[in-house]
Amino acid sequence: MTRHEQILERLMQHLERFKSESGELHADADLINELGLDSVNVMDMLLEIEDEFDISVPINMITDVRTPRQLADVIVKIESGE
């Protein structure tokens, strides 16, 4: 399993709790339009992810993130120090 896949798997677990009230949870689901999160939900989830991976994810780096896969891209990038 690549690091990207590991991170994506953990993100999907964090997103489980939004599944009930929304569409199907998949790696390319739109967090806001499909899964029904609002911008505050996304930022709050980010706090948990930062703690889990012990990294800082500045919210300005996720401005263009729409899906769990794109969020995993950003985290991989931060972890590798890019």
Binding site: S39, L47, E50, D54, S56, V57, P58, I59, M61
Partner: protein
Amino acid sequence: MSLFDKFDRVRDASGSLALDSEPSPLGTRIDEVHSPTRGRIGNSEVILAGTNNYLGLTFDPDCIAAAHRALDEAGTGTTGSRMANGSYGSHRQLEQELAEFYGMPSAMVFSTGYMANLGLITSLLGPGDSVILDADCHASIYDACRMAGADVIRFRHNDAEDLDKRLRRLADRREDGLDNALIIVEGIYSMLGDRAPLTEIAEVKRRRGGYLLVDEAHSMGVMGATGRGLAEAVGVEADVDFIVGTFSKSLGAIGGFAVSRHRDLELVRFDSRPYIFTASPSPATIASVREALAIVAQRPQLRDQLWRNAERLYAGLQEQGFELGPTPGPVVAALVESPRQAIAFWHALIEHGVYVNMMLPPASPNGRALMRISLSAAHSDEQVDAILDAFATLGSMLDPSTPA
């Protein structure tokens, strides 16, 4: 796809919640304001209990007289920016008085509180700098951080340990420490009325480094022996680098300010676009603010009265079983399950002669709706009792088991 299609959600929500008919809890039209605590909304004479008019100075005779004089002597407006023709003697005098009030070398006056945050933060921070802000900070702070282009990191609301953890992570990946990091918190948070654990936050800042900005919009004039705010009240002013505040709450007018222990704040004047590219406050506004600032220092009994009112209201609502924000204070928030319940309750309160603010998520935290009451030193005991009576009469509407 038209430009207005993006408003579909707002349009739907506004229609389904009947927010488009008068009186409306959002953008309420207050038809007449008789005093700091009384007004008319439609056919209802109401007690105003949602105006942030903490010291009740909007109708203070000295403030009004000062504004009248300035209007007669200096005209209706400055018609220009602080950078061009909009810096009158009185603007500079107010800055000097603010600097003296805080015992700091430098102060800047802005046209609104929103612009004080925008003007200071966008100028202090740029790409490559970091800002670590409390998750519940006001929209003006978020907007400023985004405009500044800095890395924006949130910490869990009022959690100094969480701040410490995030500063540690930030320091770990930097060679030059936290010299270009700014921590931002508020004195009193506007929605739930809770306060920052500023003693603990100042301790983290001393240990880790970085600069500390405290937005005292809701705590200036309200807390501290001389009314300087939460930092004064808990004795950590020496650790605070910047204080931002507003003229539109305890000072009863409009405008904003920033003060700093760093004399270099003066340089922000030459860089800050929200300071440079807007007209300055009118002479009458500046005159009433100067008078109000003097009153904050001279009349501590206003603060005492405000806190008596706040504590009585909080205790009364708590006794009635309302779920409230964590501490008594000039902002008392009752949490409500659904927006529909909140809207119905707001309308019923108006009919019972009480105006409060209604807040819906995402403006309110944790996905809950709120009835937000703000107290004033000008509220009488009878008015506080009347607010409590209205909540007692209508409280069953907020029972979670009542269908909305």
